[in-house]
């Protein structure tokens, strides 16, 4: 079976409109969590968010899209921007005869638009939201913008969605169904999401502190990220960011929203991913943890890491930079993992005052350079006990 190479990357989030902007901010420990600027919510002064600092009109202008037809949700706009960057970065020529597909992911679909128009008087001009609401809409918008007609798919498994999209894309190439696939995910901020997480009482009102003993919860973020995965035969003469060497999805089967205290599903996902990469735990140079900053996640993930690693490698959560971008998180963190590999750098955790007492391993807290990063393990865990681990390796 073919190896899977990453030949293009794109991302937009609170820490930058491009991969390079994100890299500069991560390197300088600059985060994107701030008071609410764009989301029109009754909780405006109560929470901080990691918003993409552009209005929908700005985003549409970046793409030369005419917004007056109101068929582009914020979700679709973010998705197209990041997918376009990845597509151009990989210098894809769709006329080269290789079979190209898109596997995207999100949790909220077009909810940002739906909630704006839902209670307004309904008539034929205003029901575009009923059409753009579905999760597949943004995937189709990417396909139309880039001119891709092959296999399209959209995944929604809560916060592991885009990690699952990356894994599915790799398997489509390995199984000989596609030669090249754009994989990743997106989510835009909505009142629905903010209020939903608020009812669960897992939002931090201040800047979050993942992996701190006194962590209070997560900050929500928005954004999108995509990778271009190509088979060996296409990628061999191109710039290669790394290889997607291993992946696994397992289920905690414990509770609809909570993770098991011993991290059973997460342990399975990491072990199976190592097995599929044919790597040993000691081969991992760095772990980009899921690390949301909720009491439950960080404890459960830590327990799972203790189950898998005799000596836990350097690790950090980058969610204090980008917020928790839900359906985009796995893809944004895949880009961050590949930046670590390409620049031999570890981006540190922010806001750690007192590492979690239960564990004898601590997150990286200052920028680490001049270190060889060969294999990065990235975790993404979602509601429904959905646990996914990806392993990226140096080429």
């Amino acid at each position: 079976m073919s190896k899977i190479f990453i030949t293009g990357m794109g991302s937009i989030s609170s820490i930058g409109d491009t991969v390079n902007e994100a890299f500069q901010n991560l390197k300088n420990m600059q985060h994107g969590v701030a008071p609410i600027q764009y989301l029109n919510t009754a909780h405006k002064d109560e929470f901080v968010l990691a918003e993409v600092l552009h209005s929908n009109e700005d985003l549409a202008e970046m793409l030369n899209i005419n917004l007056t037809d109101r068929t582009y949700t914020r979700t679709a706009l973010l998705a197209i921007i990041a997918a376009k960057e990845a597509f151009e970065d990989a210098q894809i020529d769709l006329k080269d005869g290789f079979r190209t597909g898109i596997i995207s992911a999100n949790t909220g679909g077009g909810m940002d638009t739906t909630e704006r128009y839902y209670k307004t008087e309904k008539h034929e001009q205003i029901v575009d939201f009923a059409i753009t609401h579905s999760c597949g809409d943004s995937t189709e918008k990417i396909a139309q913008y880039l001119g891709i007609n092959g296999y399209l798919s959209t995944i929604s498994t809560a916060c592991s969605s885009s990690a699952n999209a990356i894994m599915k894309g790799a398997r489509l190439i390995k199984n000989g169904r596609l030669d090249r696939v754009i994989v990743g995910g997106v989510d835009s901020m909505s009142k629905f999401t903010l209020n939903g997480f608020n009812t669960l009482m897992i939002l931090d009102h201040q800047h979050c502190q993942p992996w701190d003993e006194n962590r209070r919860g997560l900050n929500l973020g928005e954004g999108a990220a995509y990778l271009v995965l190509e088979s060996e035969s296409i990628a061999k003469n191109k710039k290669i960011y790394g290889e997607l060497k291993g992946y696994a999805n397992a289920n905690d089967a414990y509770h609809q929203t909570a993770s098991s205290p011993e991290g059973f599903g997460a342990t399975l996902a990491m072990k199976q991913a190592l097995q599929s990469a044919n790597l040993k735990p000691e081969d991992i140079s760095y772990i980009n943890v899921h690390g949301t900053g909720t009491s439950n996640n960080d404890q459960s993930e830590g327990a799972a890491m203790r189950n898998v690693f005799k000596n836990v490698p350097p690790f950090s959560s980058t969610k204090a930079y980008t917020g928790h971008t839900l359906g985009a998180a796995g893809a944004i963190e895949a880009v961050i993992s590949l930046l670590s590999i390409n620049h031999n750098i570890i981006f540190p955790a922010l806001n750690i005052e007192h590492p979690i007492d239960e564990f004898d391993f601590k997150p990286i807290q200052t920028v680490v350079k001049n270190i060889e990063i060969n294999n990065v393990l990235s975790n993404s865990f979602g509601f429904g006990g959905n646990n996914t681990t990806l392993i990226f390796s140096k080429y």
């Binding site: 029901v127 009923a130 579905s134 399209l152 959209t154 398997r171 939903g196 669960l200 429904g384």
Partner: protein, 356 residues
């Protein structure tokens, strides 16, 4: 490497849940949208759990459990579901509450249950199944996304039994919202003359269908899943080319196809391409419908899969879904073709073979 269909269960607006019958008695619906015939949920779900579950979760979990039971599988190697719109009822409940109360006094239950992967997650929790668990949400080809995933797992050689399903629900509110877009018929219409094309639009519905796929044949096997192919955007000539390429890869000729299960839904504008394809390439096949049973919904092709598997096993085509007879006496290769009803841009072929 053959893939067998070893268990099936479907809840639709007709009595499809009792799997020994095959659409022999039809209930006339004369409504704006078609709602499912409710089975005895408590035979499959603990009543304590049942109370918290919305319609889609009930029908999804029940058909999932029933398909596993029929296949004699306790713990599948993967649970893969498809849903175009997910948990509409819980989404509406949370959305209305937050918009009506200015984002105050909200409770988490409907938010939690509005997550798209709720059904596959609930099945995993109920079974204690720690295996691969995915949910596809790509319009009307969500179920085909699930089938492709399952086929790849069998090719990868690690799995023996996979639970795949498609679930979508309809609510009054969802009907009311979309009726303005001109997709739905604006007046109640009988399903008995859906294909007379007297009014514009189609009739929405809902369905939950699960199947157990296996690499081992058993006494109950319905047929084989040969392969699935989906693509984005295309007129008739592209659809014809994609079909020929798809069949060629399987070494199957157009003339080998015995049945075309087509996604005709009663909207004259949207249905034309199905009739055109039948006439241009597949006029020798029996033309069979499925959306007059389950109504238009993003998981209707999962129900089509149920119909195809039943035709493969029982070797008959119920009158209610027979659009054009072919004078064939046996049905070996059954092709499902459909596209989504809004933009008509996601196309899917699935090929099922009888066991002879």
């Amino acid at each position: 490497m053959p893939i067998y269909i070893n268990g099936l269960s479907s809840i639709t607006p007709q009595n499809t849940f009792e799997n020994n019958a095959f659409l022999d008695q039809i209930i006339d619906h004369n409504q704006l949208f078609l709602e499912i015939q409710k089975p005895e949920y408590k035979n499959f779900i603990n009543p304590k759990l049942l109370r918290r579950m919305s319609k889609i979760i009930r029908m999804g979990v029940t058909t999932g459990m029933a398909a596993l039971k029929e296949a004699g599988v306790e713990n599948p190697d993967a649970i893969i579901t498809g849903t175009g719109l997910g948990c509409i009822e819980d989404t509406e409940k949370f959305l209305n509450a937050l918009l009506e109360n200015n984002e105050q006094l909200l409770t988490p239950t409907s938010f939690i249950l509005s997550t798209h992967n709720t059904v596959s997650a609930q099945i995993a929790v109920m079974l204690g199944c720690n295996n691969y668990n995915y949910t596809y949400v790509h319009s009307a080809v969500s179920f085909e996304n699930s089938l492709v995933d399952a086929i790849m797992h069998f090719q990868e050689g690690q799995m023996h039994n996979i639970l795949v399903g498609g679930i979508d629900e309809i609510t009054q509110e969802n009907y009311d919202t979309k009726v303005y877009s001109g997709i739905w018929k604006k007046e109640a219409s009988s399903i008995l003359n859906l294909f007379d094309y007297q009014t514009q639009g189609c009739i929405p519905g809902e369905s939950a269908t699960f199947a157990v796929l296996s690499n081992i044949e058993n006494n109950n096997s319905y047929g084989q899943l040969i392969d699935v192919h989906t693509f984005f955007e295309g007129d008739l000539s592209i659809v014809e080319t994609e079909l020929e390429t798809f069949l060629k890869i399987q070494n199957i000729a157009l003339k080998d196809i015995d049945v075309l299960l087509a996604g005709i839904n009663g909207d004259a504008h949207y249905d034309q391409m199905y009739y055109d394809l039948h006439e241009s390439k597949l006029s020798h096949t029996a033309l069979v419908s499925f959306k007059n049973v389950c109504g238009e919904n993003d998981s209707s092709s999962a129900f089509a899969f149920w119909v195809a598997a039943k035709i493969a096993k029982h070797q008959n085509i119920p009158e209610f879904i027979s659009i054009k007879d072919s004078n064939k006496t046996s049905f070996r290769y059954i092709l499902i073709y459909h596209y989504n009803f809004i933009h008509r841009n996601n196309h899917a072929f699935s090929l099922i073979r009888a066991l002879f």
